[in-house]
Structure formats: structure tokens, C-alpha cells
């Protein structure tokens, strides 16, 4: 843990900060995708990994964030950056409203309900509800980023925007780990009855996890909408939710695990381009093997993050 904080993490930040200057545009685009989807996967980790809720509809929430950015920019002329608060808050609010009545459901039922939500959402987009979603084609021709009137059209700008969003997310994840709310999620996942019996209102914290996960994913796809200058329904199909669900399970509920999962799923296929169509094949096998050989994921969550002054000599691992 200490090594991670002192060496690995700063190293990661430095590498990621200089990386885009060494890459050609194609690889810059891949790197941006990696950053955005890492944030989305981390948001799913809050719901699935930390709180243990089988949410198979995360694409609904980040799809909503993307469409909010797209609609506000394209139809109402808001600058991309100005759409961010709503792209976070509206999905978060929707997450809270949707989760409220369903979080008491057992894992398998929750899974089916969230799939249902996701399917309904995509149908709504495709049918161009309210005439603002653009139907099956989605919305094209969004503005590029601009800051204080200056247009930041370069891919490099999008990269650093995405990188800033990832760093912000990592900061929030760290705060969560060291807070009452974050621990409550771990407790209720480990044993809900014990958590209630020690005084935790589990329902509130489950809804909190859904809201926070939805808000973070909404932020992530603002960058996605900027990168492609477009949004369309098929990017938010239920199968995309399945992908992020699997990434968290296969990677394990830890930051390196989740990001490793994203790397395998979205970057490795680009390296072996001729095998790109095999990505689901490879990932499918990774899922099968990981679940059999490492049921808690390749890089599982670690606990025991307690203050140093509580640890006495020679106490580890009894």
C-alpha cells in the first residue's frame, strides 16, 4: 500500500502526463478512450465492487450524461464545459430516483431490473422522445472544447481534459475509502444484516452508491461526447453495461484491477489490430478463467487501510 502511494501512483501520473506527446494521433485517441473508460469502470466499481450491488445498467447513466452534454451544446448552444454540472447532477439524481425503490432487491432481481432500465433508456433515445435525442442516428456536430473563449480543438487538449477527470475521480475514490460513507458500502456488501444490526441504514448508502456512480460516469462521457463530437444510442446499449460489469469483476474491485480490466478490453485489441474482432473472444475467456481461478478478480480489493498508530509490530496475517 505504501509503495503504491509513494512510488507507483506518482510514476503513473508522470507517465500519463508525458505519454500523449510521444504518441501519434491514432494512439492518442486510444489513450483518451482508456482514460474515459477507466473513469466509467471506476464508477461501476463503486456500485458493484464496493457496495456489491449487481447493477447491469451503468450505460444508462453515462449515456444520460453524454446526451445531456450533447443536447445542451447542440440544441441550446451551451459551451461543453458549461454542461458538466448538469451532466453530473442529472444522472446522479436519476440514479437516486431509480435506485430508491429497487435497492432492497436481491442480487439477481436487481440485475434484471437494471437491464430493464437500460433497455427502456435506449428505446427512448431511438424513438427520439421529445424530439431532442436525434433518434437512431443520435446527435452530430458538437462543439469542441473551449476555455475562456479560446477553442481547444487539438486532441491533446481532450487528452488532458480526460486525464484531469481521471485524477479527480481517483481523488474522490480515495476520499471515499477514508470516510464513514465508503466504509458503510463495504460493510453492507460483506454482511447486510450485520451492518444494519450495528446501526447502518443500508438503504441510504446503497442509493448513495448509485447516485455517486451515476454522477461520475456522467462526467466521464462529457469527454467522450467531445472526443467524437457526437452521441448515438448504440454506444449505450445494455451490452456496454455488461462490459463494464465484467471489467470490475475480472479486474477485481481495486483501482489497478479495474484499470487493468479497461486496458485489456480497450487497449490490447488496438495493439493487435488484426485480432480486434477477437476482443470479445479474448475477454470472454479472460472472464471465464478469472472467475474460476481468481473469483475475487485478478487484483482484488485490499482492506486493512487503518491508521498506522493502530498497528502493532508483527500483526499481519496471523
Amino acid at each position: 500500500m505504501n509503495n503504491y502511494q509513494r512510488i507507483v501512483f506518482p510514476l503513473f501520473v508522470v507517465v500519463m502526463a508525458v505519454l500523449p506527446t510521444l504518441l501519434n494521433p491514432r494512439w492518442q485517441a486510444v489513450a483518451i478512450t482508456f482514460l474515459i473508460f477507466s473513469v466509467v469502470a471506476l464508477s461501476q466499481d463503486i456500485v458493484l465492487g464496493k457496495a456489491g450491488m449487481f447493477n447491469m445498467g451503468q450505460a444508462l447513466f453515462f449515456g444520460m450524461g453524454a446526451y445531456i452534454t450533447a443536447i445542451l451544446n447542440y440544441k441550446f448552444g451551451w459551451p461543453i464545459l458549461a454542461t458538466i454540472p448538469l451532466a453530473i447532477l442529472l444522472p446522479a439524481l436519476f440514479g437516486i430516483i431509480l435506485a430508491g425503490p429497487i435497492v432492497h432487491l436481491r442480487g439477481d432481481y436487481l440485475l434484471v431490473v437494471t437491464i430493464g432500465f437500460n433497455i427502456v433508456f435506449v428505446q427512448v433515445l431511438q424513438n427520439n422522445l421529445g424530439g431532442v435525442t436525434g433518434g437512431p442516428n443520435g446527435i452530430f456536430g458538437l462543439d469542441s472544447l473551449s476555455l475562456f473563449g479560446a477553442k481547444l480543438t487539438s486532441q491533446l487538449a481532450v487528452y488532458y481534459f480526460a486525464f484531469a477527470v481521471l485524477l479527480l475521480t481517483l481523488w474522490v475514490m480515495r476520499n471515499l475509502e477514508k470516510s464513514k460513507a465508503g466504509r458503510a458500502l463495504h460493510y453492507l456488501r460483506e454482511d447486510q444484516l450485520a451492518a444494519e444490526s450495528i446501526g447502518i441504514n443500508t438503504r441510504i448508502y446503497k442509493v448513495f452508491a448509485f447516485g455517486l456512480g451515476a454522477g461520475i460516469s456522467g462526467l466521464a462521457v462529457t469527454v467522450y461526447a467531445t472526443q467524437y463530437a457526437a452521441v448515438s444510442p448504440e454506444a449505450f446499449e445494455f451490452i456496454v453495461s455488461v462490459l463494464f460489469f465484467s471489467i470490475v469483476l475480472v479486474g477485481g474491485s481495486s483501482i489497478p484491477g479495474v484499470m487493468l480490466g479497461v486496458f485489456v478490453m480497450f487497449v490490447v485489441p488496438e495493439i493487435f489490430r488484426e485480432f480486434a474482432t477477437w476482443r470479445y473472444f479474448v475477454f470472454g475467456f479472460a472472464m471465464i478463467l478469472a472467475m474460476i481461478l481468481r473469483p475475487r478478480g485478478i487484483w482484488p480489493a485490499t482492506f486493512g487501510k487503518i491508521p498506522k498508530y493502530l498497528i502493532k509490530g508483527g500483526s499481519h496475517g496471523a
Binding site: V172, N175, L176, K178, S179, K180, A181, G182, R183, A184, H186, Y187, E190, D191, L193, A194, A195, E196, S197, I198, G199, I200, N201, T202, I204, Y205, F208, L212, A301, F303, G304, K305, I306, P307, Y309, L310, I311, K312, G314, S315, H316, G317, A318
Partner: protein, 259 residues
């Protein structure tokens, strides 16, 4: 002024056709160590579940400090100062001993949900204060050396201690223990008896179920004996031991268990 009294009146809990708790009444007074005994399946754990909000009894009343708590959720009942342990230990197995005890600080902590996203100096101070409370419990239960150890890798006797430390971290008024000596060896049981006395000295009322007759007779001030969900006797340990109905119902079946 509400006194720390727990009064059950005519509590009945059914599971389908089975009446697990049948018209049960008893009263736990402030500062007592109160025992519930009875043969296996008599309904003892079910009574505890009715008090702590895991089940809601179909009939009767559960009154704590002058307030009706029947029908409240478990966390609402914890908030009123009643905390329990489980017969089948229920710890957060992958998490460390210190983190398990920290869960008991949940309702005492002043942190709000948004502090999980953005901390403030106040929330960081609160975090630190609660970890120091955890440290107190680690010392009280002599668990310091296991602070960072995941609980599912610890022996049974220590797990029982962690569960009690977790409950005590809530700073309860009434501590409810479901067979705290189950699975402990003689030495550990002695340690447990001492710990329960020390907990009472802190002003905590203790309600416990116990199978170990010697321990019950030694430690409790007052007892209720139940069989098939019904009360068959109550009194001080000496009174209960002399009661023929108890000897027949409880000690009789105990002998069968031992064979």
C-alpha cells in the same frame, strides 16, 4: 426520566404454523446481567431478533426506556442504545479487526454522506477521533496485535471478542449477547465472564442467552427460562436451579444432548 428498562409484554412470534415465541413477558432492569436460558430451539434467538428489529413480533409490545420499539428497523434500535452480537458470528470477514470495530462507530460519527466525496477539516478530525475510539476498544478487548488482521483468518474465540468489541464501540446502554460462550474453551470462557463484569461496571446493562449452565448460574442476576417459546420459570439463579419444571425441561434435554 426514562430508566434503562426493557419490558417485553405478551410477545408472540410465529413462523407459519410454528409459534417460536409464545406470549412471552419479562423485564430487564437497569444495570442487570439478565439471562435467557432454554433448550435448543426454545425460541431464545427469536426473542432477541424481535427485540433488535430483525423480526417484528405479531403480537405484544417491546418497550425500551418508555418507548415502543416493536416495528422499528435494526438501525433505529441501535440508535436508541441497544446493540447485539450473533450466535453464529457475523463479522465483516474480509475486513480487518480495526475496520470491523470501526463499523460500531458509524452512528456515533458526525460525518455526512458528502464527506465521502469531499472531506472537510471537520470530517477529517471526526475520522481521527473515531479511530481513537477504536483503539480504546482494541485495548479493552486485548485485540491490539490483531488490528490489521482480516477477521475470517482468526480463531473462533478471538472472533467472538471482535464481535463484542464492535458492539461496545457503539457505546450501548443495553448489550445483547447471543450465546457468547459457544465454541469457547474453559480459559476463554473465564476471560469472557471477566469481560462481561467489566462491561457492567461501565454502566451497561447486559442481556444474554447462554447454553453453558455453569456460566449462567455464576454470572446472571436474574433469569427467564423458556421452552417451546413459553416462559416456564423466572427468578434468581438459585431459585431457577431449584425449580422442578426447569430441571425436567432444560436439564433433561441437556443430558440427551450430551449422549
Amino acid at each position: 426520566m426514562a430508566r434503562n428498562e426493557l419490558i417485553l409484554k405478551n410477545v408472540t412470534k410465529r413462523f407459519g404454523g410454528l409459534t417460536a415465541v409464545d406470549d412471552l413477558s419479562f423485564k430487564v432492569e437497569d444495570g442487570q446481567i439478565y439471562g435467557i436460558i432454554g433448550p435448543n430451539g426454545a425460541g431464545k434467538t427469536t426473542v432477541f431478533n424481535c427485540i433488535t428489529g430483525i423480526y417484528k413480533s405479531e403480537e405484544g409490545s417491546v418497550n425500551w426506556r418508555g418507548e415502543e420499539i416493536r416495528g422499528m428497523t435494526p438501525y433505529q434500535i441501535v440508535d436508541r442504545g441497544i446493540v447485539r452480537t450473533f450466535q453464529t458470528i457475523r463479522l465483516f470477514g474480509q475486513m480487518s479487526v480495526a475496520e470491523n470495530i470501526m463499523s460500531g462507530r458509524h452512528i456515533k460519527s458526525a460525518q455526512k454522506w458528502w464527506h465521502g466525496i469531499v472531506p472537510t477539516p471537520g470530517s477529517l478530525r471526526d475520522e481521527k477521533e473515531n479511530w481513537l475510539k477504536v483503539q480504546e476498544q482494541l485495548e479493552f478487548f486485548n485485540l491490539g496485535e490483531f488490528a490489521a488482521t482480516p477477521t475470517n483468518s482468526l480463531p473462533y474465540g478471538i472472533q467472538r471478542r471482535v464481535e463484542m468489541a464492535r458492539a461496545m464501540a457503539v457505546e450501548p446502554t443495553l448489550l445483547i449477547l447471543d450465546e457468547p460462550a459457544a465454541g469457547l474453551n474453559d480459559k476463554e470462557t473465564l476471560g469472557l465472564v471477566e469481560t462481561i463484569y467489566k462491561i457492567r461496571e461501565k454502566g451497561v446493562t447486559v442481556l444474554l442467552i447462554e447454553h453453558d449452565m455453569d456460566m449462567v448460574m455464576e454470572i446472571t442476576d436474574y433469569l427467564t427460562v423458556i421452552n417451546f417459546g413459553k416462559k416456564i420459570a423466572e427468578g434468581t439463579p438459585a431459585e431457577v436451579q431449584a425449580n422442578p419444571a426447569v430441571i425436567e425441561a432444560y436439564l433433561g434435554s441437556e443430558d440427551e444432548d450430551d449422549e
